[in-house]
Symmetry: C2
Subunit: 263 residues, 2 copies
């Protein structure tokens, strides 16, 4: 399953089956043409604050779906959010306490699952436009950074904006903006182009999540809002329990990329 | 205040002052260049369901702002949601019980105000594109219709899609789609073009809300999702208390139309 063509051609159902069976890997490049999603699971009591947080921070938290309390499947997922992602994170009072490969032992009937758009979804469109996606070429996870830009708080939830970074040749930056801008449901256009220091990023080679990638001469680091932002808010705001995907290890959904295009 | 140029040139602050002082009028064409919003107010206990309802029905319920429980002002409104609209509706258990000009007598500290994008916002852009807005020309409220299309339910909330209608010359329909499609935060592109019967609308001359307008030969009725949709859900789902704007009598916000353009 190391072959890019093979993993790219798997249906979402097949990809999820492999992850359910225990395969742990970042999901960039998997099931090309199918949308990917971030996962955040909160108790119903804390879910209201996150709904407002997402409304106030739509670039970082574009909600694709909110499952009913206790539900583990929905229109975007003919499967089980507790088992079908490659890796998860469990936070108690804001502390990362476990990185399991399923959430079965943590599940409760009052838990609400939020599926949040993931920028892996537009990477296929970038590649079709001839823009290389470096972390895919280098076979690593996408680099993600906690920034000094603050999200708008909501109730008990506050935290920094987290961004993903892709290096883009200077003469293709405008194309990257236009291509990804057509996908607002999966973070849309970049929030920042060049100048990492203005976001408080001191060293591109030391991402807070994921892996560093090569930035070549003539390339500009381009930053998109990232669905790991809720995890940073969880760490800062310390809800009693929060379950998430492991950064880069996403839910492969049953929605096509094109379903997320501007309607 | 009957003069279109005058009402169009008022600042949001000035327009709201007149409504606060008691003027009752539909707000299409007021404060050109400034965004308008639908209002829905629900007790905090019922607000969760509406947040999910809005997420599941983004064309009808594009949320511009969710105020903190009890709050009457926010980033979009340097004023008071309880007094600054021309007219309101009060629903108890789904029944319309009053149409007051302020909500002061109904206010409680647990009430959450939702500001929802209104298609009046893109009417200026339509006119700039040379597309006449008939209800403005005829000096009446926009016609709105309850359709047979169902919204996706959320918790206790369910109901039909409500649409607004503007007649557009057949050779300008594509332009109307493109112009309004740039404003997804205020309902965006039409949900339906022509064929009212397919939406269950039997007589365009008898709208369920607002006023009928002339449809001339060579014009096509074009339908946009409408922020009265939450009111139809309130009637059907019967929350204990719900406060809303009166259809067509909107909040004139402190956001510019252009703030709602595609980012």
């Amino acid at each position: 399953m190391d072959d890019a063509t093979t993993r790219g051609s798997l249906t979402p159902h097949e990809a999820r089956r492999r992850f359910r069976a225990g395969l742990v890997t970042p999901t960039a490049g998997w099931s090309r043409g199918w949308a990917q999603a971030n996962l955040l699971v909160l108790p119903r009591e804390e879910a209201y604050d996150f709904l407002v947080f997402a409304q106030r921070n739509p670039r970082a938290c574009p909600l694709l779906e909110v499952l009913e309390p206790g539900a583990v499947a929905g229109a975007l997922l003919d499967g089980d959010v507790r088992t079908d992602l490659p890796a998860y994170r469990v936070f108690r009072d804001g502390e990362l306490v476990e990185e399991p490969t399923d959430l079965l032992g943590w599940w409760r009937d009052d838990l609400v699952s939020f599926l949040i758009g993931c920028s892996f979804t537009f990477e296929d469109a970038l590649q079709v436009a001839g823009i290389e996606v470096r972390h895919q070429s280098e076979g690593v996870n996408v680099p993600m950074y906690r920034t000094t830009r603050r999200c708008r708080p909501a109730g008990a939830l506050s935290g920094p904006l987290v961004v993903s970074m892709r290096p883009v040749p200077a003469d293709r930056v405008a194309d990257a903006v236009r291509v990804t801008g057509r996908y607002p449901g999966v973070h849309g256009a970049p929030v920042h182009v060049g100048d990492p220091a203005a976001l408080g990023i001191t060293d591109l080679d030391r991402p807070d999540y994921g892996d560093a990638v090569t930035v070549r001469p003539g390339e500009v680091p381009v930053f998109w809002a990232c669905g790991v932002t809720p995890q940073a808010a969880v760490v800062e705001s310390r809800p009693g329990l929060a379950l998430t995907h492991a950064p880069g290890h996403m839910l492969v959904t049953d929605a096509r990329d094109t379903d997320l295009l501007l309607a």
